[in-house]
């Protein structure tokens, strides 16, 4: 898929492949960075050079920008206030790049246009990223927080080792989706491959389509909800009733992940140990002998 052409008016000021890591304020070159402004209309000299009609505070041609500079430039745009509206940054011409923004940690909205390679947004935090394209292996590996939405398909190991945050894939995902998760939420609107939730010890996995073999393999406390067919469930896992509380929780999760459908169409898959623990707790709260 060809990336869309960026608006020409932004090219000069917003750094197609620029090497200035100080953000847009310094992107106009050294002439404005030091000394008095040049003579002329003083109002013109106050201009940041930014297209004020754009929804983005900055834009980057990923293929033309050094990864370190890209990381620093976008991080500089981040806001620390959790309640503040996040500044939006557009990344285009991704060219299937591997390892995009490892360890990224800033309050920024990222619109990423184009396919990405392996391990995008590894151990990232706080950002709200929307990827318009397919991604390779290890999407959001070790995600610590924030949101990653993929309007495309994801390769193997999407959401692997997640600690928190949300990953939503609107296409399908490969094998080992949500493997070794220990927190956060993993949503796939389409199908996922084998060993979904392998070794996961926490968090929630929701699959709108079908699931491959060994669902929940070796996992322990992860909650898995599936709407489509399941090729096989791993030993130690079982289908559990969707109780009212789980229905409510799942309904809210579906809305937040923009997955269409009714929560009651899903089946809940949990470890047998966890189901037994739940049932024994219910027994304590609402004993039959009363």
């Amino acid at each position: 898929m060809l990336p869309p052409d960026p608006p020409h008016a932004r090219d000069a000021a917003h750094g197609r492949g620029r090497v200035d890591a100080q953000g847009p304020a310094n992107a106009q070159g050294p002439a404005n960075a030091q000394g008095p402004p040049p003579p002329g209309d003083p109002l013109l000299n106050l201009s940041s050079g930014r297209d004020l009609l754009s929804q983005f505070v900055d834009e980057f041609d990923v293929a033309q920008t050094d990864p370190t500079v890209l990381m620093a430039s976008i991080s500089n745009q981040g806001v620390d206030d959790e309640d503040a509206e996040l500044p939006a940054v557009r990344l285009f011409n991704t060219g299937g790049i591997d390892h995009l923004l490892p360890g990224f940690d800033a309050g920024v909205k990222l619109q990423i246009e184009g396919d990405l390679g392996n391990y995008p947004l590894m151990m990232a935090n706080r950002m709200d990223a929307r990827i318009h394209g397919d991604v390779g292996v290890g999407l959001a590996d070790g995600l610590r927080g924030g949101v990653v939405r993929v309007r495309g398909n994801a390769g193997n190991g999407a959401g692997v080792c997640m600690q928190g945050g949300t990953v939503a894939v609107y296409g399908s995902a490969g094998h080992r989706t949500g493997a070794a998760m220990r927190g956060g939420g993993m949503f796939v609107r389409g199908d996922v491959g084998d060993d979904c939730g392998l070794g996961a010890s926490g968090g929630t996995i929701v699959v709108g389509g079908r699931v491959g073999k060994r669902l929940g393999n070796a996992a322990s406390s992860v909650s898995i909800f599936v709407r489509g067919e399941i090729a096989s469930i791993a030993d130690g896992f079982t289908e559990a009733p969707l109780r009212k509380q789980a229905l409510l929780q799942l309904g809210m999760l579906l809305v937040s992940a923009a997955i269409r459908g009714d929560a009651k169409d899903f089946r809940r898959i949990v470890s047998i140990d966890r189901l037994q623990a739940e049932e024994s707790r219910r027994g304590e709260i609402n004993p039959n002998w009363r």
Binding site: G103, N118, V137, D141, G157, S221
Partner: protein, 321 residues
């Protein structure tokens, strides 16, 4: 006067490796390494320090003290960072540091890969103190995972990889995120067959750490496994560095491992005791660990390296049966 540092095991385990004062032409010396100067950089390393035995401040201090002896230290930032998030050991750029990259990434933070010299990709299931697969509760607590020990699952490979053929993807990722001069090693127990780990050439590992300290099934035959691994690795990449985590060995036997073609030897059997609980069963303080360190450990490690530096051509390896 400092006490002598006791050997963790009696000598003569490796009696078949002998040093001759006169060079012998026909000795079956280890294969020559293409890149001997690289192998000289680190000769001793502390592979799996039990950091959870001590407070983070004590761990930070003793890591720095042992690193001053030329020992590369393995661990993560969370193991040395005090409550204020600071670590003197981490802030010392000259201290050689190994980052253990476990399949489950417990405790790993972005800080870790920015400040390490070697990444150790562990391709083996972790073993708890009680011998089962998994992680100890103390370690999990130190790594801020909030997972119970009985729920922490130990995996054998980075879980996003479907097969060993995908390992090159992982190596490329780690090379991309780590500092430019950081090396990427793999590690496993010697009970594995070298062919199990796919195409060594495609992965282009900088080195391999072979753990023979826990392979009880081998019953002392670990040297044969070491030589098997050495040949397989050198065949794939002559310049690859081979490090070994031996069972407890006397200092003289530690030195002999270099004669077998090993580039660095783990001194866990010597260094772990720095972190052991006190005689009263309490966690050792900074003073305790420093006192233990001064009881001859520096001299012992220096002695190992001095023996190892004897003329390589004068080492004689008997036929191993």
């Amino acid at each position: 006067m400092a006490e002598s540092f006791p050997d963790p095991a009696p000598s003569a385990d490796l009696a078949f490796v002998r040093w001759q004062p006169e060079a012998i032409d026909a000795v079956p010396t280890p294969r020559p390494r293409v890149n001997p100067e690289l192998a000289q950089v680190i000769r001793l390393f502390w592979d799996d320090p039990p950091w959870a035995y001590v407070d983070a401040g004590v761990a930070d201090d003793i890591a720095g003290q042992v690193a001053k002896l030329g020992v590369a230290i393995s661990g993560m930032a969370c193991e040395w960072s005090k409550e204020d998030g600071q670590s003197e050991f981490l802030s010392r750029s000259s201290a050689p540091r190994i980052l253990p990259y476990r399949p489950e990434r417990y405790g790993l933070t972005p800080d870790d890969w920015l400040r390490c010299n070697i990444i150790d990709v562990r391709l083996d299931r972790a073993i708890r103190g009680d011998g089962g697969f998994g992680y100890d509760a103390n370690d999990l607590m130190r790594w801020n995972t909030e997972i119970d020990s009985d729920r922490a699952i130990a995996l054998a490979m980075p879980p996003e990889l479907v097969s060993v053929d995908d390992l090159p993807i992982k190596v490329r990722q780690l090379r991309a995120i780590a500092p430019p001069r950081c090396s990427v090693f793999a590690s496993c127990g010697s009970a594995h067959d070298p062919t199990k780990f796919g195409d060594f050439k495609a992965c282009d590992w900088d080195g391999w750490i072979l753990r023979v300290d826990r392979d009880d099934i081998l019953e002392g035959r670990w040297v044969q496994r070491l030589l098997l691994w050495r040949d397989a690795l050198v065949d794939a990449k002559p310049s690859i560095r081979l490090w070994i985590v031996p069972p407890p060995l006397a200092a003289a036997d530690m030195a002999k491992l270099f004669a077998l073609g090993v580039d660095a030897v783990a001194c866990d059997a010597y260094c772990d005791r720095l972190l052991w609980p006190t005689e009263l069963g309490t966690r050792p303080t900074r003073d305790d660990t420093r006192q233990r360190l001064q009881r001859g450990l520096p001299a012992r490690l220096t002695q190992i390296l001095a023996w190892a530096d004897r003329q390589p051509g004068n080492w004689f390896v008997d036929q191993i049966t």
